[in-house]
């Protein structure tokens, strides 16, 4: 299969072109070159301006702390939940609650959370005025707090389901039940035993998703706009504000800020890596000391409580979105609206149907393309032992590490120059740049961790390479494959800048419309669009969960290693 051999290189080329164009398009203005606005003096002025901006230190610190905190907390919660509860009925219930949350777009989840926790939100409405005495919302700085804690919370509720699903997809490749049995027999507590024996194997497989979570959390725009501080905002939001300045010379600031943001992400990944090493050393010393683990019950309860709290926050947040979308007048401290009305849905109904169809088409196409390319690359790697070629596939993750605010304006200029702008095709291509890494990330580790002896045995039984692929690998990997498609679909649905810029604004999706409406703060419209945005990617996830169960209903071993 000659063409297959070229797939990794082809994929790489198709993905690297836009990335390089986007980066060049960002580098030039950062160093003062943007002829369209009359900037033709090369130098470091833009960087100096950004460094001298009074909010720089705070904004930078915020990007770092919110990114590191939310990633660390999310990973910790996931580890506690799986360590303490995997295999129990409580775990199955929690998993069923949390998994669908993955598909919920960040913006919708953030709005839901805000509707719950803000001073005029549902939680205080529930308690007022009978318990709190509040006739009017208290002047509390709960959302948009200057420390970014609400932003961290908003990121955690979205990243826990993501990391949990990644962990579950990796779990069959470890020998978890045996490890548990051995560590329990040696007297280790449930959580400590799991952390020592299983977690290192898991982490090895989910390391890239964790890095992506970190990079994403540091550069996120939509969640930060909704929950993050504004005096000043995080660096990425500030970059967006510079892009939005009427004075065009701020475009140079934005480009320079983007480069700084990129360096910041690289630095944070380095810090995280050092943290991994330090933690690993510390853990090895701990293991040698042979402690069997304490506070096991407390930690178990904490993990389950946190997981349930996250699920509850998002689900009640969604419920409040639903309620707002049909609310008449709804004042504080009323727990429920004065009246219900379909007016919001009637007003947006026709538009919503059209947007829903277009969003699904774009997401389905880009996710299917990404899945085909990823499978082809991984299969080529397996057949030809192309270790070197596939190692360079690391570069695919560049779009996830380069902040969107620096990468996409440059990509837009490049796409216009290449004549591919303004159509659904351009949007699908741009989405592919972001979808492919997620699909590849969620698929590659389970694929590579597949025991190679299956293929050897099949070949010994006289089966060819194609039969091995279609009759062994695909069926064995059905759950990760469907999950990867669903992840890609959800990633595409959530894309904002990657839709707006390559589509030249002419291709609108549920997300671009939702964020345009969000700037107006109309909770009813936000509710309706947030719900539709949530609904769109759920179908592929439902498939990812139920299709393997249906097909393998009498092959339990294929469902969970």
């Amino acid at each position: 299969m000659y063409p297959l051999r070229w797939m990794p290189r082809l994929t790489l080329l198709a993905m690297l072109g836009p990335v390089v164009a986007g980066l060049l398009g960002a580098l030039a203005p950062a160093f003062g070159w943007m002829p369209a606005i009359g900037a033709q003096r090369l130098g470091f002025q833009a960087f100096e301006s950004v460094l001298n901006w009074p909010g720089f230190a705070t904004a930078t610190r915020l990007s770092l702390t919110t990114g590191l905190l939310s990633t660390g907390i999310s990973l910790g919660i996931v580890a506690l939940i799986v360590a303490g509860w995997n295999g129990t009925r409580a775990f199955e219930a929690l998993r069923r609650l949390l998994s669908p949350l993955l598909s919920i777009p960040h913006a919708a989840a953030a709005f839901g959370l805000a509707f719950l926790i803000m001073p005029s939100g549902w939680i205080l409405r529930l308690l007022s005025p009978w318990a709190t005495g509040f006739e009017r919302p208290p002047d509390w700085l709960v959302v948009q707090d200057p420390w970014g804690l609400a932003l961290v919370a908003g990121l955690v509720v979205k990243e826990v389901p993501f990391l949990l699903l990644m962990t579950l997809a990796a779990l069959p490749q470890t020998q978890e039940s045996k490890a548990r049995a051995v560590s329990a027999a040696l007297g280790y507590s449930k959580i400590r035993g799991w952390l020592i024996t299983v977690f290192p194997q898991i982490y090895d497989q989910i390391r890239l998703p964790v890095y992506v979570v970190l990079a994403y959390a540091m550069t996120v725009v939509d969640v930060a706009l909704i929950l993050g501080p504004t005096t000043p905002s995080t660096l990425s939001v500030q970059i967006l504000k510079w892009i939005g300045q009427p004075d065009l010379s701020f475009r140079l600031w934005a480009a320079a800020g983007g480069i700084i943001q990129l360096l910041l992400v690289i630095g944070a990944l380095g810090v995280w890596r050092l943290g991994e090493i330090a933690l690993g050393r510390w853990a090895r010393r701990q293991v040698v000391q042979g402690h069997r683990g304490r506070f096991d019950k407390t930690l178990q309860v904490a993990g389950l409580t946190l997981g349930a709290f996250i699920a509850g926050a998002v689900l009640f947040g969604l419920l409040s979105l639903a309620l707002w979308s049909v609310a008449g007048l709804w004042r504080f401290p009323d727990l429920l609206p004065d009246a219900l009305t379909w007016r919001t849905w009637q007003r947006h109904g026709g538009n919503l149907t059209e947007l829903f169809a277009r969003t699904s088409f774009i997401a389905g196409t880009s996710a299917a393309l990404a899945l085909a390319l990823s499978l082809a690359c991984l299969e080529a790697e397996a057949r030809f032992g192309m270790k070197n070629a596939t190692r360079t596939l690391w570069l695919l993750y560049v779009p996830l590490l380069v902040p969107q605010t620096v990468f996409l304006p440059g990509l837009q200029t490049g796409m216009i120059a290449a004549g591919v702008v303004g159509g659904t095709g351009a949007v699908i291509l741009a989405h592919l740049v972001f979808v492919l890494p997620y699909v590849f990330l969620s698929l590659s580790d389970p694929f590579r961790a597949l025991d190679p002896r299956y293929a050897v045995i099949a070949q010994a039984l006289g089966k060819g390479e194609n039969a091995v692929f279609w009759r062994l690998r695909v069926p064995l990997l059905l759950t990760p494959i469907l999950t990867a498609f669903a992840v890609g679909f959800a990633v595409s649905v959530g894309q904002y800048l990657a839709t707006l810029l390559p589509g030249a604004g002419r291709v609108s999706t549920l997300t671009t419309e939702a964020l345009a409406l969000a700037s107006g703060g109309d909770r009813r419209a936000i509710g309706a669009f947030g719900l539709m945005q949530t609904f769109a990617p759920i179908v592929p996830f439902v498939f990812a969960v139920f299709v393997p169960r249906l097909i393998y209903r009498n092959r339990r071993g294929l469902l969970n290693g």
């Binding site: 369209a36 700085l141 005096t231 892009i243 009427p246 475009r251 004042r331 703060g521």
Partner: protein, 400 residues
């Protein structure tokens, strides 16, 4: 001599290229060429009522002129400006993605100066003859002459919204500040550089300062002196704001929810009809009302402009012209639709056209033209730019 001849011969070849740009004075060929064109109107999409109005405009120009109108919903007008810049830098000088932009103020001044706009066209449109050129500021935009590079379609004026069940109108900015000192945490404004937040700052400056003429020229050495009263006022006000000035609503419409929830009691608006429309939409309680300060409030016009590289300039001009028609203007002024002020001169209209305006109910929270008074002129855009930059440095970045 020879060179001149060559130049002449060359110009013969280049003229047809330039002639691709339509001549607005030749209206029948404009409407002819517009037929079948699709116009991508880039306009802020944050307001449900505005979006519905733009939808209606689309259906009407499609009926009458065969022009398809697509509303590209922006979160920020600057997005459309960026897009035109990106196209110019990539050398895409025709059939660009943006055919029309809802624009005014600094965005217009910058695009006009950078040569990114098509024109002049506005004053050649047929409906320009009924526009109130003398009574309304439709030929200058934040003191910058429009020179026909944008055409007006709505008048806006600053009003303050409040819930009459809780508070009463304030005569001046200073009185509002004094009220906030007694009622800390109950007033805020959208965070500058949001245009409405910046507008509030300008309104405060005009209300507080003695010398309004200085604001009509670009800000220069007099900047410190002229703005000193504003900063003194804000130093006192900020700790008394909602969230003690540590957080602000992002945009104007977000204030509606804050009033409805009872978090704040006053909010600034740039649309006299917004409160009435919001009541009808359940976004404000039916006790919401509006007022203007005794010294008057700022007013300006909303315009549409056409980028130099639009591929549907004729279609865009047809839409711009329709927006100035008595039919569209009367509908925009209807508080159940939009509640925007008209740019037309009632005296220039026919009796039936006028009747459509007379028949409009103003809406429970909308002030009459007499109550609104004469709008104060916008300062030169340089003031808004410097004031919002300064505000961000002083209050937008908390020292910690």
């Amino acid at each position: 001599m020879k060179h001149l001849l060559w130049a002449g011969a060359l110009s013969l070849f280049t003229t047809p290229l330039l002639a691709q740009n339509p001549d607005p004075a030749d209206w029948s060929s404009v409407t002819e060429a517009a037929k079948g064109q699709t116009v991508y109107w880039n306009a802020w999409g944050g307001s449900t009522t505005t979006n519905a109005f733009l939808d209606w405009v689309g259906s009407r120009v499609s009926e009458d002129y065969g022009v398809t109108l697509e509303h590209v919903k922006l979160t920020d007008t600057a997005d459309a400006v960026s897009r035109v810049i990106a196209e110019k830098s990539a050398g895409k000088d025709d059939d660009g993605a943006v055919d029309m932009i809802w624009i005014n103020g600094a965005n217009f001044a910058n695009m006009k100066e950078a040569g990114l706009l098509f024109g002049p066209f506005a004053e050649s449109l047929p409906n320009w003859s009924v526009v109130d050129v003398d009574g309304k500021t439709v030929q200058t935009d934040f003191t910058v002459p429009t020179d026909g590079y944008e055409s007006p379609w709505a008048m806006a004026q600053v009003v303050m919204m409040y819930d009459s069940a809780r508070v009463s109108p304030q005569p001046s900015i200073a009185a509002l500040g004094a009220w906030a000192a007694e009622n800390p945490g109950r007033f805020t404004f959208p965070q500058p550089p949001d245009f409405l937040g910046s507008t509030f700052l300008k309104q405060a400056l005009i209300d507080l300062s003695a010398d309004m003429d200085a604001l009509q020229a670009p800000a220069g050495d007099n900047y410190e002196d002229v703005t000193a009263p504003l900063w003194a006022f804000l130093d006192d006000l900020t700790p008394n704001l909602w969230r003690a000035g540590r957080a602000y609503p992002a945009t104007g419409p977000q204030q509606l929810q804050l009033i409805t929830d009872g978090e704040v009691d006053y909010a600034v608006s740039f649309s006299p009809g917004e409160a009435s429309a919001a009541i009808a939409n359940f976004q404000l309680p039916d006790t919401a009302r509006t007022f203007v300060f005794d010294k008057g409030t700022l007013g300006n016009a909303s315009f549409v402009a056409i980028p130099y590289n639009s591929g549907s300039k004729e279609g865009a001009m047809v839409v711009a012209n329709f927006l100035m028609s008595p039919e569209a203007q009367a509908r925009a002024q209807d508080p159940n639709v939009l509640g925007y002020g008209t740019v037309l001169d009632m005296a220039k209209l026919t009796a039936p056209e006028r009747a459509a305006f007379d028949a409009l109910e103003l809406g429970v929270a909308t002030l009459t033209p007499a109550e609104l008074g004469t709008a104060l002129p916008e300062p030169h855009p340089s003031w808004m730019t410097r004031i919002s930059e300064d505000w961000s440095a002083r209050y937008g970045v908390l020292a910690k």
